[in-house]
Symmetry: C2
């Protein structure tokens, strides 16, 4: 199979002709070589996606390939970086799997005008894709999890819960369900991430595991509490879509559904109007503390991942 | 299993405390952030290693983890880069597998003083590791496959065939065989790579798939022929070690055995003495053409991967 894989690997390269102007040595050598402008910093992240874990085994593999790249790019969006390069390792059960995964990967690179700067294609008993993405930010401006302040407001840009609902529909055999595309088609918010950084936002992350779980990462890294207001979360368009099905479930999915890749960020009140104009939704406020907290009608309520059906 | 994986992942981070001075945001955020000095270029490569494909399924997983990192670092050695950062995706069947793989990974980072700048730990039906490595080179000095000249001499630094022999011993059940450590313990020639670059070597690669197969990559990229002299290859210490077993086999493994990660490079004759002093072995000369060729007693001989037993 090796030579067949090699052939596809070459095809891969031909289908990703874009080369970034800062690239000195592109795909095809032992490593790629890149310049980094002196006023910029390099931002890098690696993500793995595995068949049967990160996507259902019966989902088309081009969709899996596309998702894997876009999920990784979302990390660059969360840092406010301009996405520039990607390196991919494709682990494939057979040649048809490799071809399908590569098709989605190539599409994602093309859609976001990212250079495929290198990679590895190998055989494996389990289809899997790992994606390393790199981008650039002006020096000392990357948005991190550790920069929230107790006086900040909390904001959301993007959907919550739709992807989890889509996955549920897929597993229930409703492959044409209304929400399935929300799971299958990830849109990394790269432009929005850059806009937030330019506005002066300093603390941001993408919601991949669920709002409250991820918010705890900011709380711990910044040593602040993030106080979410359920009434505000209920005004999110994604909540309203989900509420058509079931209001309890809508809240559950909003608080804990993963993989919508919304941007969760905090900012001083001085940015309130600018952020509203960008389409962001204010969903709470920070305070002294170090945890994610939930408020309904002005009172704090206990949040339990497995037991929040009593909320409305 | 997720929370258990998370716990190990945190452990992972604690066991790799080294942070490179150019790192602005280290392991634990959505992405890591790094400065690149203005006189340097960034060199990056990604490699995948899969259980049952890149290492025998019955080999200890800490060895697999160590190998995966060192194989990736070898790509930086081949470019003449100073290894600086690594990002790892570990796909593990279960927690004990994850712990074992991470132990080897951590050791490799520690041994080579590389910062583990980020990663992902996920569950998978197949144990696998992908490693992205990054290093720095002075501007426009990276050694590539495309820089060989027709007048260059061909050089080798490192062993050929020992790793393939070790793997054969392992599969034969000789887990304590003399050559097994050559397969299990990869030494990326990072210092040597930097020395070659400093000397002015411009064309280099690491031998991962076998000498002649890899030499063809240089031949195609540089549009030169690489003419190997069997008598010179037979003077290599690794050939002599293998010849104790069988001379025919020694040659076969020297020409096509993979994963010793020797550096194969070309250089003008003016560097001959300096390269000898470094311990490199001159194994042939380049010429006009675009293929890897083999010479015995002054005459070219046909090389056939599956049928070279008639050579001596």
């Amino acid at each position: 199979m090796t030579s067949e894989f090699d052939a596809i690997s070459r095809l891969f390269k031909k289908r990703t002709p874009y080369i970034h102007p800062l690239t000195q040595v592109g795909n095809g050598d032992d490593a790629s070589v890149h310049q980094v402008p002196k006023d910029k910093e390099l931002v890098i992240s690696t993500d793995a996606a595995v068949s049967g874990v990160h996507w259902p085994e019966d989902m088309p593999l081009d969709i899996a390939g596309h998702r894997a790249v876009c999920a990784a790019l979302s990390d660059l969006a969360a840092m406010g970086a301009k996405a520039t390069w990607v390196w991919i390792a494709v682990m494939a059960k057979d040649s048809p799997s490799l071809v399908k995964m590569s098709t989605g990967i190539v599409q994602a690179c093309h859609n976001h005008q990212i250079e495929l700067a290198g990679g590895d294609t190998v055989s494996s008993a389990t289809n899997a894709i790992t994606v390393t993405v790199a981008g650039l930010v002006p020096k000392s401006t990357a948005m991190t999890r550790g920069n929230a302040c107790p006086d900040d407001e909390i904001w959301l840009l993007g959907n919550l819960g739709l992807s989890a609902m889509g996955l549920e529909q897929w597993f229930a055999g409703k492959h044409e369900g209304d929400f399935v595309s929300s799971f299958q088609r990830i849109t990394p918010q790269l432009e929005a991430g850059e806009q937030l950084r330019e506005l002066g936002v300093r603390c941001c992350m993408d919601v991949s595991d669920g709002l409250l779980q991820d918010a705890n990462h900011i709380a711990k890294a910044s040593n602040v509490s993030l106080n979410f207001v359920i009434e505000k979360l209920q005004s999110a368009p994604s909540f309203k879509k989900l509420a058509h099905i079931n209001k309890d479930k809508a809240l559950k999915l909003t608080l804990s559904g993963g993989e919508d890749y919304a941007l969760l960020f905090t900012a001083p009140a001085s940015l309130h109007q600018s952020l509203k104009k960008l389409g962001a939704l204010n969903i709470g406020d920070c305070s002294e503390g170090n945890s994610a907290r939930l408020f309904l009608q002005g009172s704090e309520i206990e949040y339990n991942v497995k037991g929040y059906d009593h909320f409305d």
